[in-house]
Symmetry: D2
Subunit: 228 residues, 4 copies
Amino acid sequence: MVHDSTSDISPLLEANRKWAEECIAKDPTYFSKLAGSQAPEFLYIGCSDSRVAPAAIFNMVPGEVFVQRNVGNLVNVKDLNCMSCLEYTIDHLKIKHILVTGHYNCGACKAGLLWHPSTAGVTNLWISDVRDVRDKNAAAFEGLTADEAWDKMVELNVEAQVFNVCASPIVQAAWARGQPLTVHGLVYSPGTGRVKELIKPIKGTDDPSYSLSAKLKQHCSFSDCLKA
Amino acid sequence: MVHDSTSDISPLLEANRKWAEECIAKDPTYFSKLAGSQAPEFLYIGCSDSRVAPAAIFNMVPGEVFVQRNVGNLVNVKDLNCMSCLEYTIDHLKIKHILVTGHYNCGACKAGLLWHPSTAGVTNLWISDVRDVRDKNAAAFEGLTADEAWDKMVELNVEAQVFNVCASPIVQAAWARGQPLTVHGLVYSPGTGRVKELIKPIKGTDDPSYSLSAKLKQHCSFSDCLKA
Amino acid sequence: MVHDSTSDISPLLEANRKWAEECIAKDPTYFSKLAGSQAPEFLYIGCSDSRVAPAAIFNMVPGEVFVQRNVGNLVNVKDLNCMSCLEYTIDHLKIKHILVTGHYNCGACKAGLLWHPSTAGVTNLWISDVRDVRDKNAAAFEGLTADEAWDKMVELNVEAQVFNVCASPIVQAAWARGQPLTVHGLVYSPGTGRVKELIKPIKGTDDPSYSLSAKLKQHCSFSDCLKA
Amino acid sequence: MVHDSTSDISPLLEANRKWAEECIAKDPTYFSKLAGSQAPEFLYIGCSDSRVAPAAIFNMVPGEVFVQRNVGNLVNVKDLNCMSCLEYTIDHLKIKHILVTGHYNCGACKAGLLWHPSTAGVTNLWISDVRDVRDKNAAAFEGLTADEAWDKMVELNVEAQVFNVCASPIVQAAWARGQPLTVHGLVYSPGTGRVKELIKPIKGTDDPSYSLSAKLKQHCSFSDCLKA
């Protein structure tokens, strides 16, 4: 490889070499036990933002968490990128927990809050789901300052994506066949390094009633409300 | 939060608290300097597999690498999930390097190699791009054992995704306006922790000729080959 | 071509030959004037249902209407299939009218109303947008019989898709630059052959206020409601 | 409805009224027999182009053909818009024939042939599949004039989309369970009104060997070529 100041990543490869050596020095089986296959208990769905590294923030070692990361930690049943993560981890790896994790200071949430819908480019199309969450919750933003609105957008977005996970065919089918699976809604603060729970974990469609579960229950049994 | 043996993630939250405290103990500004915004130099596009944590393997701290992770580290110009990562990092964050990183023992590559196309479910749809890479390179698999074919699939898949990144409108437009941007094709070994370069970095459409660049050049100037 | 009772379409090809001859008998230039290019004034977005043929129901000749047809006449800004129809007709062909046309007895709307979200298959993923429209308008279904609910679902779905067209970046950008473009919401009755208008045509974001326009206006100027 | 020279579609509604009356005058049951449900034998997958109206060109009446129309008559297993048409017609309506129909003078094929990959907008993303077909068949374009290349692009595109239909999980599963289903590749000439068959109909994976079937067979049994 030709070394070159603008295109060379040899410092990265060197850092990788040192890291691998240190891991093996601490535990000679650190990597070799992972070569065959993976058996994580967690699926993390989070933002692509460089400040939020899932394995690091939960102090997890390789093999512990399967990861979907996209701009704005969005979950949409028509997005095969994210849905294949759900299906593969639930149907094949039998993970136990899904960690839907947003973060404060999220650029995607700011874009969803403020960008005009006419904005050009694919990012504007992608974050249109954030805009939908915003519109559905317009009342929640009344009287807020710009910073308060941003935090609110981040939190409402996590709730909406938790709902999308829970309402997805894959999770619905898992719950219907009795597979243990809990969905969590979390938010990370890049300024403190801390994660907090935004909602109570959801273990199924019959989970004790609060706003999100009630909405989910209605979603799953809509036809019952039609006149016989 | 009700503690409960199957749905509780308080050990994760506790691990997060300890991690954040340790980071701050080592450097009191560790998080506070990151609160405002991000300015990473790298976009990492890698697999969702639990054994491959991008920040860890390159020993990077929060803020250094923007991350897209999906099943099989696939890049498709019609996938807004991945394309919004490309656009946001290139047009807004002005990253310098894109690290397309596959890994050996990749379940998505095995599925693309072996699953029958009639397989039900969204993962089978998602990994159809791997199957296309396989079909295009059928000759490369002749005479290989199953394990050799799996490694070959992983490597050919990285090359194909590097091509997809380079051929995308976003990267093409960045190069056309002279923005410095290098695309790398890497592969990680879960069994050793080591990353290696599969192809020479690509810095533009006029990069010195080898197979991938030649293919890219033809892709970008096809109409020149039509009779005047 | 081998003729064969189950796979042969020679009756179709024969019907095509007769049709083409009849068209030319009536007007020798019927086809030749169309060979070069198209210049339609209308984009029709309608259901794939076999009972609803757009050119026929408006008695239009070839060249008059550009057509997007999918299951349930759905419009989603993240669906490149439909968005490329919008972009191509608005930016390249400069069409004047978009006819979002639903129909009663629509199987997609029935599915969106009644299918359980856990249903397997891609159609269930695709019609999840109908389910979202249903959930947003839950109150409108209270006390309705199953047939009334089906009709209501069809109508609410048309309104929602008209909104999606109007809120799309492509239409927003066209209106912003003053390009004349009117969006219509129609419904067809397979049992009578008649089309009716469900909403007043929308010619821009400042259209006289009724529910859909008000919602659109708020969508486009949300940030104005945040506290300064 | 306010009548207005730029936004009014009352001439369309009037044309619809006359058409419906004429249909009923010729056959009083023309519409009423269709009100309940549809039972078409054909799925037509064609271009959105205004010059190609599927029911008209085959002289079909309402109820005979289920229709997917998009820019360039493209079929991609990751496109839920088109895949839901395949699934709904094959699994629910049990159609017998799929008519993949391209047309000469196709703007999408011209764009796939000539647009630079850096072109902005969603249409350029959408037609990237045409560009892939072009690249795979680069040798077929050598020495052709621009018009010959355009015709060739149209034909190769139909073949590629027929392959995509045949290789899709939905069609593969239908054939595997013995459901009768034939896939056709056709091309329409806007300048003459005539349809012609480009390939022999495909009735299954074991269809007599020619280029497309051989490719399909390899696609479905790739793992057989790996060394035991």
